[in-house]
């Protein structure tokens, strides 16, 4: 067996250390070693986006990233979005706008939308559809997901202006 390597990174603001084989995928480290089961395993082929996490300010599919690539990284998962028991505007909007049915894609959707709104605080519907195209939802037909991202964007902009 290839020698295990120690990898340290920040997960939702907390320092973590893990010991992994080089071939271990980030999604497995998060779910199995660090008990962060928000990011889901959907396709395992980097198509569906259910495993999306935020890595150094990039939305990435954690089924296609090796944990050893994350030395020194800043990682954010769905678990890190609510602050002090208060839901993030995106989580609230997904709830209010019924942007989920089975919920399997939701952690990836919200984590991706979080980065999109950091980069573009006021995206048009077309921009949301283009920049969220790496996340598949098999229930909703996307209408309410787009609506929720729009309403979260408006709420966050209003908060920023206040």
């Amino acid at each position: 067996m290839a020698k295990k390597q120690a990898v340290s990174f920040k997960l939702n603001g907390k320092e973590v250390d893990v010991l992994v084989e080089p071939r271990e995928l980030l999604i497995h480290t998060l779910r199995e070693k660090l008990q962060h089961t928000g990011p889901h395993i959907g396709c395992e082929t980097s198509h569906c986006g259910a495993c999306t996490v935020d890595l150094n300010g990039m939305s990435v599919k954690s089924c296609t990233v090796l944990t050893v690539q994350c030395q020194g990284a800043q990682l954010l998962t769905i678990e890190g979005l609510a602050q002090g028991g208060v839901l993030h505007a995106l989580q609230e909007a997904f709830h209010l706008d019924h942007a989920l049915q089975c919920g399997y894609c939701t952690p990836g959707m919200i984590t991706r939308a979080y980065r999109l709104l950091k980069e573009n605080p006021n995206p048009s519907e077309e921009e949301i559809r283009y920049w969220m195209a790496g996340n598949l939802c098999r229930c909703t037909g996307y209408q309410n997901i787009v609506k929720a991202v729009r309403s979260a964007a408006m709420k966050l902009s209003a908060q920023a202006a206040a």
Binding site: A2, P22, R23, L25, E44, V65, L66, Q71, R112, G134
Partner: protein, 291 residues
């Protein structure tokens, strides 16, 4: 789906990466964005014993202009290309092409150099680079060399790179102002490779085609340059009849393999249609740039 075992190396400098590549030879693979290699390793199509991660080498990243040349680090991501003001202004063909590659998450990780060196016939940058007359900077144990995009691609997943070489830069002569461009790509859905795609970069003078390059993605084992189609339109007014003739000539060099995207006949027809669209759009853009 977990890859076979391998040793992971994360060199901090280019000489260290080249030394590792020289040491491990065929047992090693370079890891760029990893969005072609890791899926292949998961499926056990690739089983490198050593993985050399280029992600920590700062000099392989970035986009700048040097004289009339656009210089792009090989490890620059697709999203960095899309967001580059310099490329939006000076090389919109590359931006338009990158926007049609895979999906947002893949574009954060996927790199231009990785896309080129992997040389999958479905990858978009090879044909874009040939349309732009780009050249590639390759560095190995024996030093550095610069090779043209044209002639670099030898076959499916095969290039003229030597086993100890790393692609460091892509150099593109900045298209002159007043140029027109288009990357027309047919794909079944977001994330799919092209059923067929055509890249056109051209310039008009007094309404006639002065310079033109037409290249095709996924129409054969390598990206193809449709030189007969270029010859047919050069010096002429690009009307619908001439565009149809150019598309017919472009279809003549296609030999796509049949897959779930369609059979050879369909994909060849679509390569023709993409050529029609790319030529028309590039012409219109060049004409409005000249106004």
């Amino acid at each position: 789906m977990i890859p076979c075992e391998f040793e992971y190396h994360a060199p901090q400098t280019l000489p260290d990466a080249i030394a590792l590549l020289t040491q491990f030879g065929d047992d090693a693979k370079l890891l760029a964005g990893g969005h072609s290699l890791l899926p292949m390793m998961k499926l056990r199509f690739a089983r490198p014993r050593h993985l050399i991660d280029l992600g920590h080498i700062a000099e392989l990243k970035g986009i700048r202009e040097d004289g009339g040349t656009l210089v792009i680090g090989a490890m620059t991501s697709e999203n960095e290309i899309i967001w580059s003001r310099l490329l939006q202004e000076k090389c919109p063909l590359l931006v338009e092409g990158a926007r049609q590659i895979s999906d947002p998450q893949v574009r954060y990780k996927g790199t231009v150099g990785g896309d080129i060196c992997h040389a999958d016939p479905g990858n978009d940058h090879p044909a874009l680079m040939m349309a732009l007359g780009a050249s590639f900077v390759l560095r190995g144990a024996g030093g550095e060399r610069v090779v043209a995009a044209e002639g670099f691609f030898l076959g499916m997943y095969a290039t003229s790179m030597k086993p100890d070489e790393v692609m460091t830069q892509i150099r593109i002569p900045a298209p002159r102002s007043g140029s027109g461009h288009c990357y027309a790509k047919l794909k079944r859905k977001t994330g799919d490779f092209a059923a067929a795609a055509s890249a056109v970069q051209l310039r008009l003078a007094a309404n006639r085609v002065e310079d033109v390059r037409i290249t095709l993605t996924n129409a054969g084992a390598t990206p193809l340059r449709a030189t007969k189609a270029e010859d047919a339109v050069r010096g002429k007014q690009l009307d619908a009849r001439l565009i149809a003739e150019a598309a017919r000539l472009a279809m003549g060099i296609c030999s796509p393999s049949a897959d779930q995207r369609g059979d050879g006949e369909y994909k060849t027809a679509m390569a023709g249609e993409m050529t029609v669209r790319a030529l028309s759009t590039a012409r219109d853009r060049a004409a409005s740039a000249a106004r």
